[in-house]
Subunit: 217 residues, 2 copies
């Protein structure tokens, strides 16, 4: 079956879309539990009670299914951080979002890590299309931050030389590193320290009376 | 066989130690390529030409072997960053070490990610002993940084309220996040931004005429 004939999520009947979503959700759970290499299509079929022909009706191969898992994880991540992630266009909004992610991690003690970041180690070297999907997912996540930071720059809260895209990427690195260390140490402390550093980094671009304090790199 | 009877690396003949090291090295390579779940003891036996009884002579189970893989990765990481990692007790030394890790990542374009960090996503939720081994490995790596930063504090280059252990953990989070994003994006840029942020964060504790500039958190 060519990719043209395979129905995308948007071209399915309600029942088909539900089956497809159920397969992706089960695969996501298995991947979180067993890793990508440890999750076979047979596992997914067993978990969802679907046949091989049903599975291949929706997904060309395991790689295509894993890409959908990545998309699902992104959707979960974005949803879990709302409304704060959509309101990072002020100092108070940024602080609220940071408090939100730290509080979530405090609640889990870092178990599971980032639903996206924790897939990178296993996926990035095994599937270039999955790595690409991860990169796009991070970029979409970061776009909330860069949009908010651009608004702050336009409002005069950040200086004109602040680069919202690079700042957003830097914040994402701090977040991912903090979550990875939190997952390893079973403590929210590394994330808390990392996001505080990231906020301090953004504050170095604060415009106004304090601008003179900005240290040169 | 009880753990008491199983020979540790220090109690082996030269030949035994070589065989054990060869098994660990092969397992490390397989894990990097196939992930932990995707690497079976059968794979390790096939790659090293060892029998099941030989393998179990050295390692109680897969978990014990994976812990040795983590230790080996740590040794590689530390060795690859010398001599700079051992000389992070001055501003110039810190900058040299940061330049070193960024240059290494520029050379690989992030492929493979951090040999330790890239294992966290798959290992942390599947083996508590492996997660613990990873946490200890990061702590050992960080100890180079915290020792250097403590020297800088004792020398009066950092203010008395600088906490070397927390600063080292924060730098490690920046490094891990930068490497994870670099691996995903196939670019050293995220790591470069992250370590610059980390250096800036340490500089906020610089002692001397500039101390008055330190922003409050």
């Amino acid at each position: 079956m060519s990719s043209k004939e395979r129905p995308g999520a948007g071209r399915l009947t309600t029942r088909g879309a539900a089956t497809r979503a159920r397969i992706v959700a089960a695969a996501a759970l298995l991947v979180r539990r067993q890793g990508v290499a440890g999750t076979s299509l047979d596992d997914v079929m067993a978990a969802t009670g679907t046949s091989k022909s049903q599975l291949y009706h929706y997904f060309a191969n395991k790689d295509a299914l894993i890409r959908e898992v990545v998309k699902t994880q992104l959707a979960h991540v974005i949803a879990a951080q709302q409304p704060d992630l959509g309101e990072v266009s002020s100092w108070e909004g940024l602080q609220r979002w940071c408090d939100h992610v730290v509080a979530m991690t405090r609640a889990t003690q870092g178990v599971g890590g980032c639903p996206l970041g924790s897939l990178v180690g296993e996926l990035a070297e095994h599937s270039d299309s999955a790595r690409h999907e991860l990169a796009q997912s991070f970029a979409e996540w970061q776009s909330y931050l860069s949009t908010g930071l651009a608004t702050m720059r336009d409002n005069g809260e950040l200086s004109a030389d602040a680069d919202p895209a690079e700042l957003a990427l830097t914040v994402m690195s701090a977040l991912q590193g903090g979550l990875l260390m939190a997952q390893t140490m079973r403590s929210a402390r590394p994330l808390e320290l990392a996001v505080n550093m990231a906020l301090e980094h953004i504050r170095a671009y604060r415009r106004g009376p304090k601008q003179a304090q900005r240290r040169q790199p």
